[in-house]
């Protein structure tokens, strides 16, 4: 069954570039890149139970890692292979420090991290400063270069298929079991001999690697990057997509990203019609993200994919499967001590 779905997914995504026109192809490529990042976020939020609001920083690191060598005449493939590795290394270093934080502290720290990394990048001459890097060559291996959006679409969605396969295998493996234990209860996992911090750092690095890979493709696809290309709003949009699709599910990232992108795209088309006020696209975009995010969190906290699956199960009268949502707060531990000692 899973294999069938996988093959179907591959056939559909690989044949779509043949029928889409150039504008749509560009949206399709960006959507694929978002799926890559969201897969990582879903893994991080669903299994390590951590919210990262700074994922665009790793996207940016990947983009710069891919672009800088290419601009200096290195073969593009070197940059693209290095992009996920450098992003993962950066995440591992930062994560060793930051992942001692949890919950909202981590969310704020990752947000802060992104702001710091981007404004530092804007000051470094080697990275083109605030203006950014222009004239990034087309991606290519040997004598083959990709110069059409269609070819980038194939590259992107091949990467998506690879990352999805990798993620599914990781979750099913022995470390994946440890991760699932971690998501259930950190203390129980630690008591069973799971090195908690190391596993969290690994997942963090893995999610950064996916973001870095996406950023690398992005740099070659657009041919131009600047610190301003990687905004906080992007980081949040990815979280919206991950939450919408369902955290820690196999197809959640794909469903969430595609659905959210399509909704925003439809609204964008509507609001750029003649007669609409000039601020309409921005306003509708923000409003769509807000409503989708709040609606899903309040009424389908597990996300769309688990919600649909449980509906089907209910019809077949099989019991619901357990859902994975944004983790329940552990009870505030200071409370007991504070209650007994008067201030």
């Amino acid at each position: 069954m899973n294999r069938l779905v996988g093959v179907g997914f591959l056939v559909v995504t690989m044949s779509l570039p043949l029928v889409l026109d150039d504008t749509r192809l560009s949206i399709y490529v960006l959507m694929g890149l978002a799926v890559l990042v969201v897969t990582g976020i879903s893994l991080l939020m669903g299994y390590a139970g951590q919210v990262s609001l700074g994922q665009a920083a790793f996207y940016g690191i990947g983009a710069y890692t891919a672009a800088v060598p290419a601009v200096h005449g290195w073969p593009p493939v070197v940059g693209l292979l290095a992009a996920p590795l450098v992003a993962a290394a950066a995440a591992a270093l930062l994560g060793a420090l930051l992942l001692r934080l949890r919950g909202h502290y981590l969310a704020f720290a990752t947000l802060a991290l992104q702001l710091i990394i981007l404004s530092v990048a804007a000051e470094i001459e080697f990275f083109g400063g605030a203006i950014g890097l222009q004239g990034i060559p087309q991606f290519g291996i040997g004598s083959v270069t990709l110069d059409e959006p269609r070819e980038y679409a194939w590259l992107t969605w091949a990467a998506v298929a690879l990352v999805l396969l990798l993620t599914a295998n990781i979750v099913a493996s022995r470390p994946g079991r440890a991760l699932r234990a971690l998501a259930g209860s950190e203390q129980a996992a630690a008591a069973s001999g799971v090195p908690v911090i190391r596993y969290k750092v690994t997942v963090f690095a893995l999610s950064a690697a996916f973001a870095g890979l996406a950023g690398g493709i992005y740099a070659f696809f657009l041919g131009y990057i600047a610190p301003g290309s990687f905004t906080i709003a992007m980081s949040v949009e990815w979280v919206v997509m991950a939450v919408f699709g369902g955290l820690g599910t196999r197809w959640g990232p794909v469903v969430g990203t595609v659905a959210v992108t399509l909704v925003v795209q439809v609204l964008n088309d509507l609001s750029t019609r003649p007669g609409a006020p000039s601020y309409a696209p921005t306003v509708l975009g923000y409003a769509a993200y807000a409503v989708l995010l709040i609606g899903v969190l309040l009424f389908m906290p597990a996300g769309v994919v688990p919600w649909l699956r449980n509906r089907v199960r209910r019809r077949r009268k099989t019991p619901d499967e357990p859902i994975r949502m944004i983790p329940e707060w552990p009870p505030r531990r200071e409370q007991t001590s504070r209650a007994t000692t008067p201030p």
Partner: protein
Amino acid sequence: MSELLGYLVAGAALGCTIALLASGFVVVHRVTGVVNFAQGMFPVVAGLAAGSLLSAHWPHGIAELGGIALAGAVGLVVGVVAIGKPGTPPLASLVITFGLGFLGYAIEIIVWGDQPRGFDGLSGVVTLGDVRIQHQWLLVMVVTAGTFAALGAFFGRTYLGKGLTACAANPYAARLAGIDVRRMGLYAFALAGVLGGIAGVLLTPLQSIAFDRDVALAVNGFAAAVLGGLDRPGTALAGGLLLGIGQTLFAGYVDGSFQTEVALGFMVLVMVVRAVRQPQAVAV
């Protein structure tokens, strides 16, 4: 020397506005356990609304109060959405407040446009020795001092304030004593809106405000609040002053373009050090 004093005074004024924002974070987090990312929205709404009222020829004072009242109402709405539905885990509430920030963007752009706006505050300058002090800075400090004093009296002496403190100390016991914990949470959100609104109307004459200033404002406020572990308004005041003066000194003597990043780096450092030293405190 006078240069240094000037920086200190300007920094203290900036720090006071940060402290007001920080106290908003603290009030909500103490009572509900939620970190309210929409905190940066309140000063923006209050500042923009006060500006509109002033240009509609409302007198100074009344217009600012109108802005603050609107911010309080917005705070209440944020609270209803974020914690109104029973059983919403705090981390989900956090992400919801982020979504509300986006919704705020949409509404603010429709109402006020996307360009920065400002209005005139107190004009005039006092000269003490060689130090020139804007009247607006003094106003900021006086109002902040008054607000924190009122906050202390509210939590310590009024029935409602004690109820809020009870929810902060032990929600379960508070419920047993007949306190409606969820309603107290909503009051906390409204109070945070008012505090953010005060910061907004004080800040707008000093630096004009646009809809997307909220991230920078929220980050600064959170950085100050973290110093007190997000639970103590007094430490938040100290944190705000420290951050404001530190940023102004850094901008004056080193580099003006890195102020916010310095605040952020400081915040991350404080959080990590706390987490390493006492894993339980930041472990939630």
